[in-house]
Symmetry: none
Subunit: 432 residues, 4 copies
């Protein structure tokens, strides 16, 4: 109060907010981390158990390069922070968790939060007896169209792979081709038998951005000519070239009418999107590596990308992702959530809940989910007719057979699943 | 297909999306419009009835200056367009309705859509057996702090009114003072007895922007000195001055630390916000007249306002408002949804559902709701301790006694409730 | 090769780069994590041991809110990734580690990398038999002037605290004052006895941004009048107010000529700096929470802050920090590395190495380091005459008594050191 | 102090910083300038001698058009300014020297400072017993890939020259072709015998920008067709055309996939880069003429160039160059330090130290260093397999045989080595 001023009649606020006691009658009883690798990829799944017998939820916290750090973050920090809180307070729990570490917005902590967040949406859906997509506004489309991955050592082999996928009903194909003498992202993992073959190891790989950017237009020249104008073709640069090369490549791919071009720049080179826009009319999908809103909000706000493609668990779960979808809708940007092999089936179910309920849904990436995974995760969304379909069960509609999951421990690996060390011909580190 | 190219194997898409058939088993059976004016203000409420006996929802479509046009829009156009659709498809129904008129984004059609949209959220909450705020992410705060209106012919009278309100527990007061010789927005409706006294009529009122902008600083000089630094004071320019006057006024009010200054410009003068920001550090709340995203998205994206204060039914209901809240959160803007007398109690309940579930909630405007209204609308949110509280019932938690509502028909009025005709001293039209 | 083109004579590159074998003859033999809490604050220190007997380095990886997640990241991922590499390849190791997790730029992984990075600089200095500041370009000043923390329940008490500190030779004082009825950052930790008293616990604290911003100008009105114009006063907003309040506060503090104002906005509200600059000429120091270059590069590039104040371990160690100092120098921005109690003495030594060697050094934050810490960390930099001095030993000049460190295990804490849960009066989460 | 206020207790700062006394015990004893021209190019080398017997360093200060002015600047001004200072204080000495002339940032003074700066880094490396690249962060690649110069009177002759160079292992070729009837930069100096043949004389040369820009695309049409897509081709405009011509040329060269295009504009025309970017996706390398940060910082910050190609001695030595490399890294720009015949072998060694230690190294320009030079400068970096390799000696790893150097005095020259006077067909001066 200012010295000598009048006595203000300012009324006191009401009593402090509840401190972790549950209001709805259903509280978080435990937060558990389940590690499993049915297909050899290190998955992290969170199970939030409640005070209501039999009521629990599942969330994806898969950071396959650093899974144990996520596990520690959950078990040592989020678990004690959250036990006893009302399961319904999803938004509040997200915000309180976000600032509870003070430093924030990184992949370990975001994945940890995602595991809890998706599980709480799963629980809310079960309490409501509704699929999560219904809580998010209901279905805006019957199913979510997916794109799948075609690759091969030569354009003709990629074409053959495409034809196989088209016969199976896929209309959106992400195509990658080998570059002779160099490792190439997305090519080794040929997926004919539908078991994702792990291409990540610790060998140092050699890479030439220049050879790659010369090679890619040849691929699409071949594919567009061979497959006709109707099939939707996509390509992923995977951030592996200097910015000006990505700009050139986008420009050179314009004639082939890609559905979109993925991840032209590393996150650290976001500042080049404006120049890319000046040189190309190819739609741009971006963001599987984003973990911080400073990375993606400006791009959307400035309308420099056409599809947001973040990995939902890496930004913190459904809660931030649905707000991000809303942000994008105001700016005419569509969604294309990251859906590779290192999204657990729970994460795919979360992607699908957003896909179905978002007016500005664009496309869903899909990596084939093997039979082992489907056994471990009953209720895994099915893909047919080129689209992913909800099983219409309440919550995320997915379960976890813990006993079976335990039969697939993490594979032995010298550096525990680190991303391969890609280097240029002179030995310099290549992102990523 | 490229001339002479090979036959592409592009697979057909699946069968077209359902055309109005219900998937969940609960469909829209009827859409009805109820007109009532318990306090003399022309309210428009929509009741969506479903194929499930006893299951219905309520929405606010109140456009008190053009209520019958809204009624016509609903009954003649939305009703036949929507009957038979799945009650769960809120997002889809909003989008389909939005473009069904081709020309869109105006107050008549937005209010019509809002009536349906809020009703569908109400229904979804009832199906889930959860309050709507739970569907939107859960409670982020115990209750929604409100601001109320104080006014008087002289600063001392405003002070007296403030003191009365403070005794009742209000900590946020919007203060308006009369300008001798001129009509002044917000002053005539002294509300001691809690029955909103209608200040709107069709007489032409005279107005002087110059007299007004001289008067207002005197009011806050008095109030801040008399009431001390702690009570939060607000003021509404109500778009009634030329832009440069609003800029000057904002600057002159800086020393009095307003919680916010409302609606400095008419929507047509949005382009002046950048200049206002250069001259004042007073928080700005804006937007009760906005009906089009071209009006509000740029202001938020450029961080030129601090509070978004749209009238939710005037932008189309909860569906766009929750996305707008998300948009604002990315840019550090808080919500202050419009909550005047011409929001029906159903609309207040919708405001509250958003207030409670939004992390970036700022404040809620509140106009006293009289006893007659509370009888017509059982479950109307209560205000105590300076905040609005949920009654914790499922859906929006509010009902409508149709028989009682019918007892309060629209009052006779020469021009059916048109906004008062305000003119400058020379007879020129003054906005608004 | 393009079909039918001529045979290019492009010569092959040389043989692939070494794969983890040491060239200099000194390789990383082990990477160990030491946890200790001599003053009750959870410190994380990394010890990199080499193939050279007796040669090792120390680095700070302290993320006191999530220390065990950092420990896991180092032990499970960085350790196997780095063993056998040449200790001299600091830049290469940083880049390879950065992308080895694919997702990156968060506080857990950055701290893990910092622990290794500082230790490698320490080792390089020992090999060179030079203090690290010499490797970084040599001494640009005799010692690094520091600012320390003064606080109290009332302005007069803060003044008293300031006078005590001034008698001890401090010329730069960060001053915080209590706000009656609310928790206030920086006030509880009165440090007269030089043992940092931990103010962080799990109680929910109440906070009013409005009360705080009214209070602070009173403090500086008092201090500037009482202490005269010469002493340098600083203040930390600690990101705890809405952006427009921070802008107002900066403007209102202009007359008191602060040396700088710290952290006006949360990282998510970086977009407001441009507006702050329009309203205030108070120097701005920013960034203890930054973990991602998308957060800080644009601010520097646009010259919107005057001091960069990141927490060096939270951006990844000396390697990125020295480049950040260089970036700042091109834009006239000075350094003010974060130096609170949750920087280990090793981290303080790293701060000092940069302080001494950077032409654009501004000031160094300093929190008193207690006797127990100095015993556990022999060689901890000393502060006298208001500045921090190098002990002129090679490397970082600091050691760790592991046996003694083991006597100070982490304190018991319900949520393992989470940041306190601060909430507004209505219960909403307050950052941070 | 405020009138009547209390006596402030502001403590005095400590005693002034040392004024030239050495702390490390090793001081600058003398600064000597050695002039020599083993290949006919006027080189300027600085030798800093220390108080430690036998300990000295070498730096390149070669400004071949104004060598005696550099010599005077060093001997008359830097030498007395620096004698007695601690050899370790490289950063401090650079800053103090920089402002010691008050007017600064020109090639004479920058070269003078570079001579001292490189010598001090050389000394520091010797004291540390480490190559300078180790002080700068260690090796990020095995060796530095180089580009060399191919030229000829006709495209076919350039092709032949290229093939010879490719056989020798070079993968990056800068190609220049003669324009009939006009002098052309870079063409006369055919270098088969590896003795740089001096192309610079004082005769006035005639030049036609129009003829040149017509000619260059023909060259690359020929080369790309003849040599295939894999070899990396470069071209240097050498600032010899009006800006809009350079923009057109960049655009016309897009199909030939240059590795980069050098120096499109004179420094005075920096303002055209934004337009160039709108018209071309060819990577741009810029900057051999820059001497002032106002010339290069904005280009980098706006990401308008892809390679920074300053002449290190012309910006002041390793100290500013390493900060410039850091600046570039934040913005995705790579390094391509100027490496022509008028860089002394000492300067090449300094380039190499930065090349090896910079993550954002791009390419190194290399002009063949003749046998005479290698005798005068023992330890000159070797080029094999298309890359420049460190000799792994401490410091810059290079020495100077002063007696031998004295045998190669500056050649007689009417205007002492002035840059050739190039004029347009009408006699107007052509830059540069």
């Amino acid at each position: 109060m200012i010295e000598g001023g009048p006595e203000p009649a300012i009324p006191p606020a009401w009593e402090p907010y509840r401190q972790g006691d549950s209001i709805s009658g259903v509280a978080i009883r435990d937060v558990r981390v389940i590690l499993t690798a049915p297909e050899g990829i290190r998955l992290v799944v969170v199970k939030v158990e409640t005070t209501e017998p039999g009521l629990y939820g599942l969330g994806c916290a898969t950071f396959t390069q650093r899974p144990l750090a996520v596990k520690t973050a959950i078990e040592e920090y989020l678990r004690p922070f959250l036990i006893g809180r009302d399961v319904h307070d999803i938004e509040d729990i997200w915000q309180a968790s976000f600032v509870s570490s003070y430093w924030r917005s990184g992949p370990v902590l975001n994945n940890a939060m995602s595991g809890v967040d998706m599980a709480l949406w799963d629980i809310k859906g079960k309490i409501a007896n509704l699929p999560v997509y219904q809580l998010l506004g209901g279905k805006t489309r019957e199913a979510a169209e997916v794109y799948v991955h075609a690759s091969g050592p030569e354009p003709a082999a990629v074409e053959e792979h495409c034809r196989e996928l088209m016969v199976e009903g896929f209309r959106y194909l992400r195509c990658q081709v080998a570059v002779a003498g160099y490792s190439t992202y997305g090519v080794s993992g040929r997926t004919k038998d539908r078991h994702y073959r792990v291409s990540i190891d610790t060998r140092q790989e050699r890479w030439s951005p220049e050879a790659y950017v010369r090679r890619v237009p040849e691929l699409f020249e071949h594919l567009r000519s061979a497959l006709g104008p109707e099939v939707e073709l996509l390509h992923d640069i995977h951030e592996r070239v200097p910015p000006i090369h990505a700009i050139r490549l986008a420009s050179e791919l314009d004639p082939y009418r890609l559905f979109f071009l993925e991840d032209p720049f590393a996150p650290e080179d976001n500042g080049y999107f404006r120049q890319l826009r000046q040189h190309s009319v190819t739609p741009i999908a971006m963001g599987e590596l984003y973990v911080n809103q400073a990375e993606y909000v400006p791009l959307i706000q400035q309308r420099l990308i056409d599809f947001i493609r973040v990995h939902i668990s890496d930004i913190g779960g459904i809660t931030p992702a649905r707000k991000l979808a809303a942000l994008c809708e105001w700016f005419g940007v569509r969604t294309a959530w990251h859906g590779p092999g290192d999204v657990s089936p729970v994460g795919h179910a979360a992607n699908l809940a957003l896909d179905l309920s978002s007016s500005n849904f664009g496309i869903q990436e899909y990596s084939f989910i093997g039979e082992r995974s489907r056994e471990v995760f009953p209720g895994t969304p099915e893909v047919r007719d080129g689209a992913m379909w909800s099983n219409e069960q309440s919550g995320l509609g997915i379960d976890l057979d813990e006993a079976l999951a335990a039969r697939y421990p993490y594979p032995e690996h010298p550096v525990n699943g680190a991303w391969p060390e890609v280097r240029r011909v002179d030995g310099g580190v290549q992102k990523p």
